[in-house]
Assembly symmetry: C2
């Protein structure tokens, strides 16, 4: 309510809160069941709700509208305090996972366990904290990133490339996994090389006489760049550098390099670091640049799971390098997988937040009236339904595939760790997990690119749907967009990821045309490449329709086959993969859309997987599924017609009318469908999106709170002197207060 | 150059400045001629260049990278100082236009000219300053807006709605047009009403006994909202309020209302003002909310060109209201025309800035190599060409239509002023100019919506094309996007504008089908509605091809006719205009794209209009034209196939191959084509986009300059204590400096 407003609290013109109450009273869907579907299970739903409450009630971790007015310096300070607070939660979450609260301090025990007598820290131990961090990323992306860089990038680089002893030492004993002892950053990107990791220029030259490496930044573009944590927080860095031994360049390997003395935070000798400066968003992250000028580290600081430097046994002999090239290449990139998988989950959470805001404003806001009617709610305009409802469908369709990808990721990594440990080494298993990893690379790249783009579009479209109020920082869209869009260029530029995943898909397609298809591995998201299906599509036996629920997924499979066939034919002629790159980017998008629909369909069709037994709720969920599919078929009607999946008349007479009809249907459940994300107001931080729907009072109150009248404008505003001088130059003011002019002027004005 | 870098100045890996020099040496096009084409004539080109130099060299008006780190408070102060500076330029520009520098002060004379003996201030007098302001908007959108609100919105509201005496008094005598005496803001939008101006709630009730109006804000949603200038700078407001006389509501009229005492800037009684607070962008604009609590103004403060309140002559008689409804309605909105016309011009200028940055980075940046080759320049990848070159074509295609629209606007407004002045009143002329105004509303609405959307997309795509460096504030994209996108929702929400223009176009189409078409008025941007052309398209006589230059415009005319026919048929059945709203929005976009291509074609085909005589330059300009048309045909291949303008095979075999071919061709001139915008580095303010192309040195230097090592990170970074405590909790540090570990650890690590 607007306490400081001077007007009557009753708004004769509008009562938006009544409109939203009415939507809820008329609702027939079960919000709790739908929330369980979205959170993947009732157990995860309950855990998410508990964690959300902890987050928004924590005095340090909570976020509110004051965040919109902070300077870069303030952002850094606030984020630093939050990191310190989070570290305490981490210890708590590990103890909770291991059910160990009494007796010795579990964390200290784990750190001191140099003989590895206790069970090593596993993904399961960290799963609660990972969920907490993922939920936190929803209200504070910069905090999520700063911690994610330390745990996910630095940590996973060591996990993926270190020997078991190195992993134990750096992550457990030195305390990194507990956010203690050392704080890491991820030294991959250089000013001159982002995507092309194989050409990084930082050098790590082996010194046989001291059994060490010397790190060197040989030129300006070799400067490590965009390194999150480097400017203010990191004590160590996992550096990607070229291994030079006896004059030979072995390519890019990984090294742990100390940057600062943790006790004083002074830079160590040979290390130069600076702040990258102001960014479009996420200014709470202290990105820095790093240069190494003859920095020396022991040989043992090279992460050596797959590549080892073997010192010569003879006094003047030569050191040698032993490597497992296949795994080395895979593991080099494995640190990046965690980021991509998390970004797909982020897309679900971040997208749902803005879906809620857009939905509630669309219901509360009225503009233009039919004769003798109250002004129409925005959500009752077909155009507004078209702009808003498909965006609400997006987080729904991200959820099942996000959880599926996350589960696949952890299970494959566990498998990789097992089959590549000396104690349990298994060559056959390694070959299998290698293939699974390759598929995971394709899927995670495609899904990361597609979903981060979808959410950038979602935030933009929903901001515009809120008109002028969308431009106010207090309604979350501005900072939301600015913080979000880096997801489209970091951790793999979206276009590069799309290209690489599509090229792999094209290869699988070519293999399929030769009859080669791995049913055990590729029957999931690549099932459309199964040879008999491909044949049926290309001979016209399998055609697109929209009669059954399964068809809404299958049309994308059909479109993919025809699309890939079109591209394959082009390349047959031109022999030039680059010339079809624009089409390949779309292939990746189609692959993702298909995967999302497939995962959603698979989950919803079985009540034991969907956790939805209520018929009305299930129907609403199927409507969302169909809406998503139709919306993107319409968006891509160009491709669907070009590759003859649908005819122009089918677009006009089937696709577009069905879409329009579905929009009207889904509109009815817009509020319960967004209530079902179960994000409290403290996580939304946008007054036009608060639960009670009292949009004008809530928004105006927020403005008054953030801009107290005394400071700005009520009496004499800032810079008033300057304006008085500006206006008074060379002539006198009309001194009559308020300009009640003299009679002769009045006379002239009245003519 | 990077003076403070500690590394060797020679970058062994990359020499981007050589790459850009090579592009310029190999160029065959005439940059000066192309610049004259873009600036619409050699005279305007020279004037633009002179004004640009004045702007970037002015110590107060110039902008540099320090702008990226400012707080909202600092932004406001800097912008206020710039306004004061600009006011001096305004006086200078008027004197220049009138060639009057000696003797009396011309501005004072104009102010004191109560008998209107001197020629009144005309658009011609203000044309130089308008151009200056337009160019300034390119580097400082918030400054452009703050001045534009006063001159363009407040000023044009008075010009469009005031009697000649009222115009003379407020704008000339009180000094408003010279940024003296009073500073205005535009009181139209309310919290509850943005698009639906007819339902604004602020009341202006006539008091017969004192011959005054009382202004009242009756409820919270009636609060004037988003009023630029209200919070800190405005002394007066042109308020849109409901005229209530003798209990009858006459609808929304306009009133001049004093807000503050200009000498002290204190709020006047009954006025409540507050700051709207932080925004996504343009925080230099002091948007405020305003409430009126029984504020009294003289009757003569109502702007009365078309509507007058006539006091009763008898002592207890009733006041009456006299109005010219047709013109009143048109003029009520005429203040908004100036904004829309200017936004189309802004789209040209703002778009060209980012086109330059994207082009230069694409040429300088290298990533991934073919075997034994240096790494490939981004611009040599077909995908990158696809991402960047069409965006460069956008400002090219905006330019001719922007200048054309601007000229039409001024000429129609002059005509309106003349035929509606009592001395030269002309009823027939009024009817004609009324129709011209309606067409102008359609064109300006469609072009404003389409071009502000195109440029939002341009900034986003080009930012992504610059990878990580695009996310750095210093490379202009972040603030550029944040400042730009409000253009899509203010001054007419883009979707609403698109709908209204498309509905008018649909009406003209229906009239055309009945044989009704005004050749004198509609043969410009509506020429595709000419009845015989429409017939030829619908009967299949006129078909789409891409053989001649003119075809690249005509395909859009053909598509529009088929599109409108499709919609008309749908409405015949459903009778529901709202259900086809999504299609109507596209009609507006197609109309604009057609207008842009048409204006470009008309201009380029005649050397005396294009000012291009060099054959290679002309060829390059035709390539841009074709590229723009093909790119959008491909983007809208869905509609082109759905409405059977092109077949699927034509898309595959003609449109897409031509597009690919043209991209490779235009790539060759990417640097001269962007050099031709002739924006100096001081106007670009993005080191990766500077003229010399030395991207790494320039960018790194900027970072060092804005983030001096001493302040952040080189020694002990901010919040270091907090991190030390975080990392040290409950355990000891490994005290060995840099963590050179003890031998037994080394032994374990080396296994």
């Amino acid at each position: 309510m607007t306490k400081s407003s001077t007007v009557n609290q009753e708004c004769a013109a509008f009562k938006p809160q009544k409109l939203i109450q009415s939507e809820r009273s008329n609702s027939r869907v079960d919000v709790d069941q739908i929330n369980a579907f979205l959170e993947s299970s009732p157990e995860r739903r309950d855990q998410a709700q508990a964690l959300i409450q902890e987050i928004v009630k924590d005095p340090i971790l909570k976020t509110d509208s004051s965040m919109y007015d902070r300077s870069k310096r303030e952002e850094r300070a606030v984020t630093a305090r939050k990191i310190a607070r989070l570290a305490l939660y981490m210890e708590h979450d590990i103890k909770t996972a291991r059910k160990h609260f009494k007796g010795n301090d579990l964390i200290e025990d784990l750190q001191r366990d140099t003989e590895s007598k206790l069970p090593a820290l596993s993904n399961k131990d960290l799963s609660i904290f990972d969920r907490r961090l993922s939920l936190l990323h929803n209200i504070d992306p910069q905090l999520g990133t700063r911690v994610g860089v330390h745990l996910g990038l630095f940590g996973n680089c060591i996990k993926g490339n270190g020997t078991n002893e190195q992993i134990h030492y750096w992550l457990q004993e030195r305390g990194s996994s507990f956010m203690k002892g050392i704080y890491g950053c991820f030294g991959m990107t250089e000013l001159g090389h982002g995507s092309n990791v194989a050409r990084l220029q930082t050098k790590a030259t082996y010194n046989p006489d001291s059994d060490t490496f010397t790190l060197l930044t040989p030129n300006l573009p070799a400067t490590k760049f965009w390194i999150g944590g480097a400017a203010n927080s990191a004590t160590h860095c996992s550096v990607y550098a070229r291994l030079i031994v006896e004059g030979k360049d072995y390519g890019v390997k990984t090294f742990v390099v100390p940057l600062r003395n943790p006790e004083t935070f002074q830079l160590l000798p040979g290390i130069a670091i600076g702040d990258i400066g102001h960014k479009m968003g996420r200014n709470g992250i202290d990105n820095g640049w790093i240069q190494f000028h003859n920095v020396v580290i022991p040989r043992e600081y090279m992460l050596s799971r797959f590549t080892q430097v073997i010192p010569s046994k003879a006094p003047n002999g030569k050191a040698t390098v032993k490597t497992q090239p296949q795994l080395d290449q895979i593991s080099g990139y494995s640190a990046l997988l965690s980021g991509r998988v998390n970004m797909v989950m982020d897309s679900f959470r971040f997208g749902s937040k803005f879906a809620i805001i857009g939905a509630r404003y669309a219901v509360g806001r009225q503009q233009f009236a039919k004769p003798k009617q109250p002004e129409t709610q925005l959500i009752d305009y077909p155009l507004h339904q078209y702009r808003v409802l498909p965006q609400i469908a997006v987080p729904y369709l991200v959820s099942p595939v996000a959880f599926k990808l996350m589960d696949q990721y952890y299970s494959i990594l566990d498998e990789l760790y097992k089959v590549s440990s000396p104690a349990t080494f298994d060559k056959t298993g390694l070959a299998i997990v290698s293939k699974k990893l390759k598929n995971l690379f394709i899927d995670s790249a495609s899904l990361k690119a597609t979903n981060t783009w979808l959410v950038a579009e979602l935030i933009d479209q929903l901001r515009q749907s809120c008109g002028g109020q969308g431009y106010s920082s207090y309604n979350a869209f501005g900072k939301g967009y600015d913080d979000w869009v880096v997801q489209c260029t970091w951790e793999g530029d979206n276009n590069i990821l799309s290209l690489s995943s599509a090229k792999s898909i094209l290869k699988k397609f070519a293999a399929s045309r030769r009859g080669v298809f791995d049913r055990s591995l590729d029957s999931g998201s690549f099932d459309y490449l199964e040879p008999s299906f491909v044949r049926a599509v290309l001979t016209g036996q399998e055609t697109a329709s929209l009669r059954q629920l399964q068809d809404y997924t299958k049309v994308w499979a059909i479109a993919l086959v025809k699309f890939l066939d079109h591209i394959a034919r082009l390349i047959d002629v031109t022999k030039d993969l680059d010339s079809v790159a624009k089409l390949l980017v779309l292939v990746s998008k189609f692959h993702s859309l298909h995967s999302m629909l497939q995962a959603y369909y698979e989950k919803l069709k079985n009540p034991q997987d969907s956790h939805v037994t209520d018929a009305a709720s299930e129907a609403a969920l199927w409507d969302i599924y169909k809406l998503f599919s139709l919306y993107f078929i319409d968006k891509h009607s160009g491709e669907f017609q070009q590759f003859k999946v649908f005819t122009p008349d089918q677009i006009s007479q089937t696709v577009q009318p069905k879409l329009l009809e579905l929009l009207q249907k889904v509109r009815k459940s817009i509020i319960p469908l967004t209530d079902a994300f179960k994000l409290p107001d403290d996580m939304i931080n946008a007054p036009i999106g608060y639960f009670d729907g009292d949009i004008y009072h809530n928004y105006f109150s927020e403005i008054i709170k953030q801009n107290p009248a005394e400071a700005d404008g009520a009496g004499v505003p800032p810079n008033a002197d300057l304006f008085t001088r500006l206006l008074a130059r060379g002539s006198e003011f009309d001194h009559a207060l308020g300009g009640s002019p003299r009679s002769e002027i009045i006379e002239r004005l009245g003519k």
